[in-house]
Amino acid sequence: MTAVTTETGTKTKGRATPLRFLALRGLIGWILPFAIVVVWEALSRTGVITENVLPAPSAVLRAGWQLLLSGELIHNIATSTQRALLGFIIGGGIGLAFGLANGLWVRARDVTDTTLQMVRNIPHLALIPLVILWFGIDEEAKIFLVALGVFFPIYVNTLLGIQGIDPQLIEMGRIYGMRPARLFWRVILPGALPAIFTGLRYALGIMWLTLIVAETIAANSGLGYMAMQAREFMQIDVVVLSIVIYALLGKLADSLARLLESLSLQWHPAFQRKES
């Protein structure tokens, strides 16, 4: 009886401590950005940094508040996010499909891989002039560029993931009579998942990068457009605000990917919390 009580006792304790530890670790990461903002504000107030070089954080916040009230900020963030996600879904989906197909069928890889590797070596942002000629500065242009940028990291990593699966496990699955569909869901896909997640996180970075560039050059809405317009009117606080928002959105996307990763890769020793 006593033994049982002690055991459950240690278990709950063992579960609570790492959680608290994780929360603490997450907070530690925010100390530095916060400190930088505080120092920045102090330097602005004392006049070391003049307002036409870099506005104080409080000024940036005020600008953000005003844009928030006018609805402009939300509108621009929504537009940019929509473009990013749409491009990501299209490019990522096609990349995943090609990666799976080429990983599973040698024939498919023989046919398409050379072509894809050639296209991969063209920096996708070099296509901007061509894309503007094709699509003008409409939505398609941005979505196309994002999709193209996102395609390759997902494709390459999915392919690598499938090729890296232990052939002994596949043989084991066959020995136990797994049919191709079951083999795919139970052995191949889970085995490729860590690599696919690596590709996903790369892709998210490229997604924001592409969108910023595309919106800065050719757009009539979105965060990049907001920044460019602010530049025309010398609203440096809004320019800085857009940059900060890009940083936050990028961090948010990465955190979501990490969360997804740690949820679906619980089996992986790298994601296991030490319990003893």
Binding site: Q168, I175, P190, W267
Partner: protein, 246 residues
């Protein structure tokens, strides 16, 4: 007991890889429920023989006959030196892989739990394979191989990678389960002592031939280092190393 039926029989089986003859006319009949150990130097063809038995490979010449019981979904199972567990499936799910095409769902889970208990891992069903020790993983692999109730269990040096103590524990476990379930066991091993300890019959392969077919007529359970066990060991080792028997 009536005359034991044969579980499987190799009839003039030959297997080539390129110009190399790995198996040169193997004739071997194993009665149901027997524990056979196959030993020999590296490259003598013992793993090839096992892969043929498990149906992972086909003979070039000759045929392999299996009893009707040995032909169904889980007729023959093979266990390797590596446990080959799915790292992304919990222990119980790994065991249910052994029921693919036989039973599904909660019934499969229940049976997997029974077999986990059988190998002494009743409380580890919810763990990931990565937290288990080498010996525990191999026990999960054993449960997975047995959960489909095969008639023949082929073992390709399953204890080769384990430390000495774990190995002895596993040998005892294997013997107990074999006696309980009554399947036919074919164990390929480098370890002559292990062969003598576990098997009813030791087959020595040499350059693709059966060089020795020795019945081990000792009561069970046998003990490491007992004089009668050691005598058999010496006889086989002498033959294996080409020494003249005294």
């Amino acid at each position: 007991m009536s005359t034991p039926q044969s579980a499987f029989a190799f009839q003039g089986v030959q297997r080539f890889f390129g110009s190399k003859k790995v198996l040169q006319g193997i004739n071997l009949e194993v009665p149901e429920g027997q524990f056979v150990a196959i030993i020999g130097k590296s490259g003598c063809g013992k793993s090839t023989l096992l892969r043929l038995l498990a149906g992972l490979d086909q003979p070039d010449v000759g045929r392999i006959r299996r009893s009707d019981a040995g032909q169904g979904a889980a007729g023959t199972r093979i266990m390797f030196q590596e446990p080959r567990l799915l790292p992304w499936a919990r222990v119980t799910e790994n065991v249910t892989v052994g029921l693919t095409g036989i039973v599904d769902g909660p019934q499969a889970t229940a049976r997997a739990r029974d077999y986990l208990a059988e190998v002494g891992l009743a409380d580890r069903g919810g763990d990931w394979p990565s937290v288990l020790s080498g010996g525990q993983r191999q026990r999960v692999a054993l449960a997975r191989a047995l959960v489909g109730q095969p008639h023949i269990l082929a073992l390709d040096e399953p204890l080769g990678a384990l430390d000495a103590l774990t190995r002895i524990e596993m040998q005892q476990l294997l013997e107990r389960i074999w006696r309980e379930k009554g399947f036919t066991a074919v164990l390929v091993t480098h370890d002559v002592a292990e062969a003598v300890l576990l098997a009813d019959r030791v087959i020595l392969l040499e350059e693709g031939h059966v060089a020795l077919d020795l019945a081990i007529d000792l009561p069970r359970p046998r003990r490491h280092g007992a004089p009668d066990v050691a005598a058999y060991e010496r006889e086989i080792l002498d033959r294996l190393l080409g020494r003249n028997a005294a």
